[in-house]
């Protein structure tokens, strides 16, 4: 299977050293999130992939091509990589109209065809009416779409997005997150999204690589990485949260019933969930009780079996199987009272407001 593979080393005077390696298949699931705290080297990796920065050592291969091979002194310039880059602040050309921005890469294309292609991309991004305007007359969300259109117009083979939503105000960000995911899906172009925002990672990514202090620590499906961090370092970066794929069943009185594996949960309805979402539950919001002898009909009371118990400072980390994998953090006292050990039966309670739904598509 063709893949994007790199192993790069880049250090800066008086700065951190980035030593990152990753292999990403270029197939159906197109969006890889490069997740990490600020200063972890995400942008350096992205700039090396785009060709704007050159690693001190290592290689970058894309499909059958070698973009960088420091050993063989081979460096393909950014102009010849066929990569679309979405800058954090979008970097639109202020002296050109939206149409000229989008058509910028098509200089050698015949004028009529160029206009047609600009219109096609504009239609895809629903910005046709903005074509004659200048960038300074656009809102943040419009700028983002124009920048994306500009990157898509030359039909790139790889799309790189640097914190694509961070320049937007919160309401616009909410609105565009789902839309961006849908667009990336529709174009089918393999994409790498750099972000430090957990919600953005969940909303946009198919798979996720966690970057800490310049090194890739874990790669996997987004909810797997969030739910099962490979080590303590990753856990600290992604937080202790249960993240599980969920599907909307029904809406009622401001609540949404979602199916999570074989369990059903009521959550506060965030509004724009259409079908697929991630259900996020903080481990400390899960309350454990002795399993009742008779079945109850209380909302979000889940019967489960303890799979693992481990101490974490003053707290105990309990992994349950209650139709899906659920991690709870409880005090040592209540762990002792409930006699928690692998195989024990308990009831897990989660209040509806403690379940956050993050939509997967607009």
């Amino acid at each position: 299977m063709p893949s994007l593979a790199f192993e790069i080393e880049r250090s800066y005077p008086r700065g951190p050293t980035v030593r990152a390696a990753l292999e990403v298949p270029l197939d159906a699931a197109p969006v890889t999130v490069l997740y990490g705290p600020s200063g972890s080297g995400k942008t350096t990796v992205l700039r090396c992939l785009a060709g704007l920065d050159v690693p001190d050592a290592g290689f970058i291969r894309f499909g059958g091509e070698t973009w960088v091979d420091r050993g063989a002194r081979r460096i393909v310039p950014p102009q010849r990589r066929g990569v679309g880059l979405l800058f954090q602040e979008y970097a639109l050309f202020p002296h050109l109209t939206v149409a000229a921005n989008i058509g910028y890469a098509l200089r050698t294309v015949e004028a009529r065809e160029r206009a047609a292609r600009v219109e096609d991309v504009a239609r895809l991004l629903r910005i046709s009416e903005l074509l004659p305007r200048r960038p300074d007359r656009l809102s943040g969300g419009q700028r983002q779409r124009v920048a994306l259109a500009r990157a898509l117009a030359p039909r790139p083979r790889l799309l790189l997005l640097d914190e694509p939503l961070s320049a937007l105000d919160a309401p616009t960000r909410e609105e565009l997150r789902g839309e961006l995911r849908m667009l990336l899906e529709r174009t089918g172009i393999p994409s790498i999204v750099v972000t430090h925002d957990r919600v953005e990672a969940m909303a946009l990514g198919d798979r996720m690589a966690v970057l800490v202090e310049g090194a890739v620590r874990q790669v996997g499906a987004v909810h797997e990485v969030f739910s099962e961090p490979a080590d303590l370092v990753v856990a600290r970066v992604v937080g202790t949260e249960n993240v599980a794929p969920a599907r909307l069943v029904v809406r009622r009185e401001g609540l949404a019933l979602v199916q999570v594996d074989s369990a059903r949960l009521w959550a506060v309805d965030p509004g724009h969930v259409e079908r697929d979402a991630y259900a996020c539950i903080r481990a400390e919001d899960v309350v454990l009780e002795p399993a009742p002898t008779t079945a109850t009909s209380a909302r979000n009371e889940l019967m489960g079996t303890v799979r693992a118990v481990s101490g974490e400072g003053a707290l105990v980390r309990v992994t349950l199987d209650c139709g899906f994998r659920l991690v709870a953090l409880v005090t040592r006292a209540s762990a002792a009272r409930l006699a928690l050990e692998p195989g024990a039966r308990v009831a897990a309670l989660v209040k509806a407001p403690a379940i956050r739904l993050i939509p997967r598509s607009a």
Binding site: A50, G51, L52, P77, P78, Q79, R80, R81, V83, G84, L85, F87, E89, A91, F93, P94, H95, Y104, A105, R107, R150, A151, P154
Partner: protein
């Protein structure tokens, strides 16, 4: 008023400005983007004509243009006349003399161009040269125009260097400022006054234009 001197000065200023655009833009772009540690040396050389007395610059040029220097000999071999006391010599001297007036505004404007715009152009497939033409130059245009205008005005009014390397040959090296100096020496204050008023008006308009352009580039 000395119309031949006016025509000569305008021609000299125009050619000098064009030459400085061709020569100054690459130098300025290099100064604006290089990370070479000894870049200050080049900056200092470019700025020298600002602080050097025109007579000092003129003296060195006169020596360099003379028939005993390699440059002077090569020029005589190619054209049959000397570089000193000729229009060509005057043009070369003017280019050097006005260099900082063009290069400094060019470099300042080019340095202010957002490097991300340049990088965006690279990722969109454009070469360095095309990027300079399509992004860097349009973004820096007010500063480039300001530099060109300053170079033009400065050449229009130069005196010391002209006197040293050009002399006072009507139609070849007798520029406006030389003409004024001449008129005063002959006590023809009326003629000197008219020419001076013209230079004053031109200089003032040029500066108003330059500041207006710079203001616009800062605002937008």
């Amino acid at each position: 008023m000395d119309l031949a001197a006016l025509r000569l000065s305008l021609l000299l200023s125009t050619l000098t400005t064009l030459a400085l655009l061709a020569l100054g833009l690459p130098i300025a772009q290099w100064l604006a983007t290089t990370r070479w540690r000894w870049k200050v040396l080049v900056e200092a050389v470019v700025a020298l004509p600002l602080v050097l007395p025109p007579t000092v610059l003129g003296f060195y040029l006169l020596v360099a243009f003379g028939p005993s220097s390699p440059l002077g000999r090569a020029f005589i071999a190619a054209t049959g006349h000397t570089l000193a006391f000729s229009f060509e010599g005057l043009l070369l001297a003017s280019i050097l003399y006005s260099l900082p007036f063009a290069v400094q505004p060019f470099a300042a404007a080019l340095a202010r161009v957002d490097p991300r715009l340049v990088e965006a152009s690279y990722t969109l497939g454009e070469s360095r040269l095309q990027t300079f033409r399509r992004v860097t130059l349009p973004m820096a245009l007010p500063g480039v125009v300001a530099g060109a205008v300053l170079a033009f005005a400065h050449t229009l009014g130069e005196f010391g260097v002209v006197l040293m390397v050009g002399g006072n040959l009507p139609g070849a090296t007798r520029t406006l400022s030389i003409s004024i100096f001449d008129a005063v020496e002959q006590l023809d204050y009326a003629s000197a006054g008219r020419t001076s008023a013209l230079l004053l008006a031109v200089s003032f308009s040029v500066l108003v234009l330059t500041y207006a352009l710079q203001r616009r580039s800062l605002l937008g």
